[in-house]
């Protein structure tokens, strides 16, 4: 059998395709739920119409997105059993619990309250309706927490013992799984990256409208919210990424070496910003690197020793027996850079935007604008950016919408492929995890089915998003401004059409 079509390879491709695809929607769902909830809170508190219009606009995009997140999540719940049955048998005692927690606590929360929120505009009093979207938001965050606890256990298994007779791993300390430092760091990093994603999404779409001088009042508020979110979340992503890197260096030294393609260990190891050449051969022809930075990223000290790929491979061979313990180095090397590069690019655009569009601080009177005007982009004290440069910024702001999505994907590809050949680090190899009873043909069929289906749905989804982005925030109706005062809606007019219907 060709290696390219071996069940293990196919199962990995399928997992990669379905999971990266699923994770395009996840961070947007997490962040847009909270941001929409924030906007709706502003509406309930201030009764300013622009907040309600913003809530409806972003809420709509959120719903288009979460629909995809929910349906692609169904596959995740079952494909461990389908393609990875030996994995499921081996780790189910541990790995299954957080999944069950996620379903029973988080999924029910999300799915029940999202229905109430979508259909509840004319059925629930204002504050209860608002509470529903917050419940959705809490649900999304809990969901992230439980699934990341499960993933962290694969990166760094804790709180378990191996039952030799049964041939499986068994849970001994659930609290350790939920609270170990890998879990905490991963949750922190993933959630902040999610908000970076949602913030950039808002910046991109708000910039699109402001660039065309449309829907200014709502979009200015949105831009500001997006910018602040991106800057705060960007900082937190960097901090948590640094923490996670240091945790990873201790727990999975191979992954750290592979992130840099550092073949041989050295003191004061450099970090290359850019490299050209064949990293798989262990050297680069062109390289731009910062001395000592890798040591700092790994250990918090510019002089520390970082073991290389070859050293670590030898160490693991001694520990786990003969074999090749190296991941695919070019993938880890570039994935690591694309993750950081695209993530930080978005942060940069956000930081620049926050400064350029400032309202008053160090801004002369004549450059300040009113409520319904597009802000001037002011770099230095007295002059707005030239139209050319201004245009460039708005375009960058629009494009930044996609950057975190790319960064997230490469982040997961890095951390999952960097763990190979292990599926559970140091405990179970990926090659021993696939379903022995599932044929090559079956995996091929399902892989092709999902890929084609997902591709079609991507086209449908993006077109729909574009349509609603272009349409802009809706005009408010009398009913929007007069929500019901009792649960179940008003009863005066029994034949009144529903405020929302499918």
């Amino acid at each position: 059998m060709y290696l390219a079509l071996a069940p293990e390879t196919l199962a990995r491709w399928q997992f990669g395709i379905t999971t990266v695809y699923h994770f395009l929607f996840v961070p947007l769902t997490i962040s847009l739920a909270a941001l929409t909830a924030g906007l709706q809170t502003a509406w309930v508190r201030t009764e300013k119409e622009k907040y309600l219009r913003a809530t409806k606009f972003w809420g709509k995009l959120f719903l288009i997105n979460i629909a995809m997140g929910v349906v692609t999540g169904i596959v995740q719940e079952f494909q461990f059993g389908m393609n990875w049955s030996d994995y499921s048998r081996f780790v189910g005692d541990i790995f299954g619990a957080p999944l069950a927690f996620e379903a029973l606590i988080a999924f029910f929360f999300e799915s029940t309250f999202i229905g109430l929120w979508i259909f509840g505009w004319d059925k629930l009093p204002k504050k209860i309706h608002l509470a529903c979207i917050w419940m959705v938001s809490i649900g999304t965050i809990l969901s992230a927490y439980f699934i990341l606890a499960a993933n962290s256990w694969m990166q760094h298994p804790v709180g378990y013992k191996i039952d030799k007779a049964k041939g499986r791993a068994e849970l001994t300390d659930f609290l350790a799984v939920l609270t170990q430092n890998t879990t905490v760091a991963q949750v922190f990093h993933t959630l902040s990256a999610s908000f970076l994603t949602g913030g950039a999404f808002m910046i991109g779409i708000a910039a699109f409208h402001l660039f065309r001088k449309k829907h200014i009042s709502v979009m200015k508020t949105s831009l500001r919210l997006g910018l602040v979110t991106v800057v705060i979340a960007g900082l937190l992503t960097a901090i948590s990424g640094d923490t996670l890197g240091k945790v990873m260096f201790k727990q999975q030294p191979m992954k750290m070496a592979a992130a840099e393609a550092l073949w041989d260990g050295q003191d004061s190891a450099p970090f290359s910003i850019f490299a050209y050449g064949d990293v798989s051969k262990g050297h680069n022809t062109v390289e731009l690197s910062v001395p000592g930075l890798l040591s700092f990223l790994a250990d918090g000290n510019f002089n520390s020793h970082v073991p290389g790929i070859n050293d670590t491979n030898k160490a693991e061979q001694q520990k786990y027996g003969a074999g090749d313990y190296r991941p695919i180095i070019p993938v880890t090397f570039w994935a690591f850079r694309w993750m950081i590069g695209f993530g930080m690019a978005s942060f940069g655009v956000g930081l620049a935007g926050l400064w350029l569009t400032r309202k008053k601080f160090m801004l002369p009177q004549h450059l300040r604008v009113g409520e319904d005007e597009v802000p001037n982009l002011v770099l230095f004290k007295n002059k707005a950016l030239s139209p050319k440069l201004g245009r460039l910024y708005w375009l960058a702001a629009i494009w930044t919408l996609g950057f975190p999505l790319i960064a997230n994907s490469w982040g997961w590809i890095f951390t999952e492929m960097g763990r190979q050949p292990w599926v559970v680090y140091g405990v179970l190899k990926t090659s021993a995890a696939v379903s022995p009873g599932v044929s090559q043909t079956e995996i091929l069929i399902s892989m092709i089915t999902f890929t084609v289906l997902y591709a079609v749905l991507a086209v449908v989804e993006v077109k729909l998003l574009v349509k609603y982005v272009k349409a802009g925030p809706p005009e408010l109706t009398e009913d929007d401004l007069n929500p019901p005062t009792k649960i179940g809606g008003e009863t005066r007019d029994a034949d009144k059409p529903m405020a929302f219907s499918y």
């Binding site: 169904i74 389908m82 499921s88 790995f95 999924f107 029910f108 309250f113 068994e170 529903m498 929302f500």
Partner: protein
């Protein structure tokens, strides 16, 4: 009763919840072709389950997750063994969810018609396939000494399992029809009641044959009780429907589902997936279950979270308790 027995019951409860709830929204999806006269009526039907279908579906995800955690061997054998049917179900559930959410998001008739067609098929196919799957689970499939399914795809399409598929298909459609009669107002409500009688009779015939077959095959005293309850509830549901007692009809069709699922699980116990090759190779509550520690944690979770879920999901049904008719659907799709 040991913890793995408790979890056998809880898994049964989760599947029961799933079939009770998603059962009627599958049924409603099927009615979009069977009952609706025009596209406006289709929208009425779709909107009776609009706010709740997603929450209903989580019962399946929870059943999946809980099986993984409580009976890893069962989870692994079932989903790797029933690979292709499960793939079809997953594809249906994906398309179905998107269809509900996206259908009204564009005004073009073609767009809406396509999603309506999708809702029909993606409701009908899983409603059938779940019955096939459970038929096979109860009947036993070719499982080897390593708990691997060694049968083929075609082995899953045996007469008993196919009959099981027809039973869930008709039973869910019946459940959906009495639900429609309960949740709508106007002409469609009257027609739903008439249709319910026809589908109910068909369901009764198929279900009685299937359940008797199960009883003879692998039943005991307890499963016989469940069988009698299921049959009696179905007949009572038919009677209530004929007398226009819509609430009762729906409650009783619900009892039918509960009793039928209970019967399947009762005839299964203490196996969770019997092997048709060798009785010693069957997956049972003991050899397929997780460690007592994991089961203990899971029990705490279930004890605390399940009542809460029932509470707020129940509240949702109360919020959306009003009947809807064609007059409640805004002419211009509010989107």
């Amino acid at each position: 009763m040991e913890l793995h027995d408790v979890w056998f019951v809880l898994i049964a409860v989760l599947w029961t919840g799933y079939f009770f709830l998603e059962g009627f929204d599958f049924g409603v999806g099927i009615l979009t072709k069977l009952l609706a006269r025009d596209r406006l009526e289709k929208r009425v039907l779709i909107n009776t389950v609009g706010p709740v279908w997603d929450g209903n579906e989580v019962w399946l995800l929870t059943a999946g997750g809980a099986t993984f955690a409580a009976f890893p061997e069962w989870y692994a054998t079932l989903f790797s063994g029933f690979y292709l049917p499960l793939l079809v179900i997953l594809v249906c559930l994906i398309v179905r969810g998107v269809a509900f959410e996206y259908r009204a998001k564009r005004p073009e008739e073609n767009w809406q018609r396509n999603w309506e067609t999708a809702i029909f098929w993606t409701s009908l196919v899983p409603a059938f396939l779940w019955g096939v799957a459970f038929g096979n689970i109860v009947h036993g499939v070719k499982i080897d000494r390593n708990f691997e399914y060694v049968g083929t795809f075609w082995n899953l399409l045996n007469p008993y399992a196919l009959l099981g598929g027809l039973v869930t298909l008709t039973l869910f459609t019946f459940h959906g029809t009495v639900f429609t009669a309960l949740k709508t107002v106007g002409d469609i409500r009257v027609r739903a009641r008439k249709l319910a009688t026809k589908i109910g009779v068909l369901t009764a015939v198929l279900a009685v044959v299937f359940l008797l077959w199960t009883q003879i095959d692998s039943g005991d005293g307890k499963s016989l009780v469940a069988l009698v309850v299921a049959a009696a509830a179905l007949l009572a549901a038919l009677g209530a429907n004929l007398r226009g007692r819509e609430g009762w009809a729906f409650a009783l069709s619900g009892v039918t589902i509960v009793a039928a699922v209970a019967m399947l699980f009762l005839s299964l116990f203490p196996n969770v997936m019997p092997s048709s090759l060798n009785g010693d190779w069957s997956l049972t509550v003991t050899n397929a279950s997780s460690s007592p520690y994991t089961l203990k944690i899971m029990t705490w979770l279930a004890a605390i979270a399940t009542p809460l879920v029932l509470l707020y999901q129940g509240w949702t049904y109360w919020v959306f308790r009003k009947r809807i008719g064609t007059q409640h659907i805004a002419a211009e799709a509010a989107h």
